[in-house]
């Protein structure tokens, strides 16, 4: 279990725990709004730009296209099986919202995994950032489709505003900034990188510490609501990411990814969205209860992944890859 302890000596992780501790001891520590939103925009900008610059070196090879395809496939499959697992227990609305949540991804989990890898001296390829951008939206559409199909018979009156939904899914602020930065990074390459890297690279880890401090505060505050979700959903929040991780590790092996890329691909599949998806669900499935799906993603799956999931996946991958 030493890899778990190692993970905990990472400054970003320790700041996450510090944030949780602040709530526990009822400290009034908080990062005033809109500072957390700004940090989150910064992280998307930085990770997108970097990924784009690396893509400009590698180009899009058939191997890369295959991985991107696999990523989108996972983003489509996960919400389907999740939905059928859930609908009997929590109703169609919540099932659709939770399914979308787990099909989509969490950029901060990805970034934290990158920092973890980095600390072990391993890197990962830039196209995985493209995979992340591609995985963010489709699960939302699948979730809403499943919801509409299950609802069809009942309410003809209630109608989904598809243009608005697609806009919210594909052009929502975080997806848009990530994709835009990726494209600009790819277009400007090494020259662009030189210009922005003191901001996007130099400060990255320090900013991640501050952001995870805030995530710790927000996650711990939400923990109080978890009892409402009940044991089944709590189990889901940990179990489904593990299943998805197992699938992803298998796929990575099949596709011949190296250890770093395999971990990052796995983390994408295992993570759950708490930024893009809730925003879309409010509109498309307004009766789904955000106290369920946001709390699960933010207060259970995210901490589980960053504290335990990432090092476990890495240990498994390291062992399998030999």
């Amino acid at each position: 279990m030493s890899f778990l302890a190692d993970n905990l000596l990472n400054p970003p992780l320790l700041f996450f725990i510090l944030g949780m501790a602040a709530v526990l001891v009822k400290s009034d520590l908080e990062l005033p709004q809109p500072f957390p939103k700004i940090l989150s925009l910064y992280l998307l900008f930085a990770i997108g730009f970097k990924g784009g610059v690396e893509l400009s070196h590698s180009g899009v090879t058939p191997r890369i296209a295959m991985v991107l395809g696999a990523a989108v496939m996972m983003a489509l499959v996960v919400p389907v099986y999740s939905f059928f697992l859930l609908r009997g227990r929590v109703g169609v609305d919540n099932a659709a919202a939770i399914a979308a949540t787990y099909g989509s991804i969490s950029a901060v989990t990805f970034i934290t995994a990158g920092a973890f890898l980095n600390a072990t001296g391993i890197g990962y390829s830039g196209y995985l950032v493209a995979a992340m951008a591609l995985m963010e939206s489709p699960a939302i559409v699948v979730g809403v489709l499943l919801y509409r199909m299950a609802r069809r018979e009942r309410s003809a009156a209630e109608k989904t505003d598809w243009p608005a939904l697609l806009r919210d899914s594909f052009f929502n602020g975080s997806v848009f900034l990530l994709t835009g930065s990726l494209l600009i990074g790819a277009a400007t390459g090494e020259k662009g990188w030189e210009a922005v890297s003191p901001l996007t690279d130099g400060l990255f880890k320090g900013v991640l510490c501050l952001f995870l401090l805030d995530m710790g505060i927000v996650a711990a505050r939400r923990l109080g609501v978890i009892r409402k979700a009940g044991l089944f959903l709590a189990g889901f929040s940990v179990g489904v990411p593990l299943v998805n991780a197992a699938l992803a590790i298998g796929l990575s092996r099949l596709m011949g990814l190296d250890r770093g890329d395999a971990l990052m691909f796995t983390v994408l599949c295992a993570s759950a969205s708490y930024i893009a998806v809730p925003a879309a669900m409010r509109l498309a499935v307004p009766k789904a209860n955000p106290s369920y799906y946001v709390t699960m993603a933010l207060a259970l799956t995210f901490p589980f992944n960053v504290l335990v999931g990432i090092p476990i996946c890495f240990a498994v991958i390291s062992r399998l890859w030999g």
């Binding site: 939103k37 927000v218 930024i275 925003a279 409010r282 209860n289 106290s291």
Partner: protein, 97 residues
């Protein structure tokens, strides 16, 4: 001084644009918007401390005639039903030159 209706609406922040468009269609001669409102109601606590706007509210104040107030009430009701919130109408005197 002129008698007017004060219409106040609180609802989810993500509906801000739709709400304001509805107000303009209903004939509101003007409105004032305060963003980043927190709140509590049937849908639990809405914290304004999140990374997404989903848990944030918006507060809007409209001074208008009785007529327009009624049209606003009608326009706002489906939004409140779908997304939650409140709409209060009260009386006031408007100071105008």
């Amino acid at each position: 001084m002129e008698s007017v209706k004060r219409v106040e609406i609180v609802t989810v922040a993500v509906e801000r644009a739709a709400l304001l468009a509805a107000l303009e269609r209903a004939g509101a001669p003007g409105y004032t918007v305060l963003r980043h409102a927190e709140g509590f109601g049937n849908r639990g606590h809405r914290g304004a401390d999140e990374l997404t706007d989903v848990f944030e509210n918006v507060y809007v104040l409209v001074a208008c005639t009785q007529d327009v107030a009624e049209r606003i009430a009608a326009a706002v009701r489906p939004i409140l039903n779908k997304f939650g919130g409140v709409c209060l109408i009260s009386d006031a005197q408007s100071v105008r030159s």
